[in-house]
């Protein structure tokens, strides 16, 4: 089939934008940790670009998108067998589709890293990323987008469930084995460089336009709609977070605003091409309040989801997935358009994904903890992961 050049250009640039979110994430997370862990934290995002890119073309893409069963794809396309530069998917070259989807496979495990900074062994992190990508990401991606049992049921425009719920809930599950950073809860572990975090938020938003609007897989009206919602939802969420924080603590922080933007981006992801801009603002406002509350609650519950992966991605992703079932009006209908069933389908998708991701992550965590060991020693944690895991320091004279 002939490809549409404009769609190809759009998906290619969108793919580049999504990959660009990885340096963004590295900065976002890296700025929030202590100086002694900055490279370790950034490497958690960078190394995934290496690992999952290769893994994806070797086997991941096939598991997620080739013809298989209700649960997982087959092995028809391992090593990209049967695909060449002439192959097409929809109106674009299959290679463009594989690259675009590969970027999603990359960012998802990298998101989890925010929960485990400052104490996970680098080699165990690598093992975790590989196994989790195959065991959790590939199947869930197949369920929702690749022809699996949720395809055509739960609405997920750009990955609220596939990306954010899986990563958010897995971040929580892995903490069972990793526990807290030393001093957490007693000392305030403050971000060493908030300018990095702000810049990271900027890169993430920029890249997210590719993430969401690129998910239209065409430079069409739906892409424009998804772009628009990805523009206003995070804006509304950032403002909401800021206002709530201002009233709550007396100060509107830059970090809070940036986190709010992120919460809005997460929440609009599943809805991006299904809702109007005004609904997007509503979703952003709700996400701002709900995620803020989730993050505040952490302070009370005392688990150390260090950079609030669950509070932002898990909670924000769930919020977005459910609200998609409420507000959907474009190309699908939700509760407010009289289709209550969609909300149920959304709920079902969320629950199944959560349970599956938690169980798998617990198993992976257990096995890795017993074999490689997940957590560094006390003395390594004290000195910092940059020196102990990577033999280098972020900053020298």
């Amino acid at each position: 089939m002939a490809i549409v050049f404009a769609d190809t250009a759009w998906v290619l640039i969108s793919s580049a934008l999504v990959l660009f979110m990885l340096p963004g994430l590295a900065l976002f997370y890296g700025g929030m940790v202590r100086r002694k862990n900055v490279l370790s934290s950034m490497m958690h995002s960078f190394v995934v670009m290496g690992i999952v890119a290769v893994l994806w073309v070797v086997v991941g893409y096939s598991l997620a998108f080739s013809h298989g069963n209700w649960f997982v794809g087959g092995l028809d396309h391992i090593f990209l067998q049967g695909i060449d530069y002439n192959s097409t998917t929809g109106t674009i070259p299959t290679y463009a589709f594989i690259a675009f989807q590969g970027m999603f496979a990359i960012i998802t495990p990298a998101l989890i890293s925010g929960a485990v900074v400052g104490r996970i062994k680098f080699k165990s992190y690598i093992a975790f990323v590989i196994i989790w990508s195959l065991l959790v990401y590939a199947p869930v991606c197949h369920w929702v987008w690749g022809g699996g049992f949720l395809t055509g049921e739960a609405l997920d425009f750009a990955g609220g469930t596939v990306v954010h719920i899986t990563s958010g809930i897995s971040a929580l599950a892995i903490l069972v084995f990793l526990g807290k950073r030393r001093g957490y809860g007693v000392d305030v572990i403050k971000p060493h460089n908030v300018t990095l975090t702000l810049l990271g938020a900027g890169l993430l938003w920029f890249g997210w336009f590719g993430f969401n609007a690129g998910s239209a897989l065409a430079a069409d009206k739906i892409a424009a709609l998804a772009f628009m919602t990805t523009f206003v939802a995070p804006a509304a969420a950032g403002l909401t977070w800021m206002i709530v924080e201002w009233f709550g603590t007396g100060k509107p922080t830059a970090l809070g605003f940036a986190t709010g933007i992120l919460a809005g981006l997460v929440a609009i992801t599943p809805a991006a091409g299904f809702v109007t801009p005004m609904a997007a603002i509503a979703i952003g406002i709700v996400a701002g309040i709900v995620c803020y509350s989730a993050v505040m609650l952490k302070g009370k519950l005392g688990y150390d989801d260090s950079l609030d992966v669950f509070g932002v991605h898990g909670v924000g992703g769930t919020t977005g997935a459910l609200l998609t079932g409420v507000f959907a009006t474009v190309g699908a209908t939700g509760l407010l358009s009289g289709n209550a069933h969609q909300l149920f389908l959304q709920f079902e998708g969320v629950v199944i994904t959560m349970v599956y991701a938690v169980v798998c992550t617990l198993v992976i965590g257990f096995v890795l903890d017993k074999t490689l060991g997940l957590k560094v020693s006390v003395s390594e944690e004290n000195i910092g992961l940059d020196q102990t895991q990577h033999g280098e320091k972020g900053y020298n004279f």
């Binding site: 202590r34 002694k36 030393r182 001093g183 000392d187 003395s379 000195i383 020196q387 033999g391 280098e392």
Partner: protein, 115 residues
């Protein structure tokens, strides 16, 4: 009057200042430093080069105290800076230097009143 210089672990800063506040020592100066000592360092790698280094990140506290405050100040730092009950290598050191004079700039006060 004494000038107390303490080198501690960055992660203990909060608990040290907490201990100090308990005894109402609430003036001090903090700076990030790198240290080299009994605590084992790690192999550092830079492209073609690799080397054993011991430079670890530390925090330096400087506290000018009147003589009667010296003992409690030292005690408070020790208490706050220890990683655990028995103490671990790398918990740091305290140096006590003599001060001859102190001047508070805003008021011009001098000596032990100015501390």
């Amino acid at each position: 009057m004494k000038y107390v210089i303490a080198i501690i672990r960055p992660e203990r800063l909060d608990s040290v200042t907490r201990e100090l506040q308990k005894i109402e020592v609430n003036r001090l100066t903090v700076s990030p430093v790198s240290g080299y000592g009994a605590q084992k360092g790690y192999l550092e790698v830079y492209r073609a080069f690799e080397r054993e280094v011991n430079l670890l990140e530390k925090i330096k506290l400087e506290i000018a105290v009147n003589d009667n405050f010296l003992a409690p100040t030292i005690e408070a730092i020790q208490k706050g800076a220890k990683t655990n009950e028995k103490g671990e290598i790398g918990d740091g050191k305290i140096f006590v230097l003599p001060i001859e004079d102190v001047i508070r700039i805003s008021t011009g006060e001098v000596g032990s009143d100015a501390i």
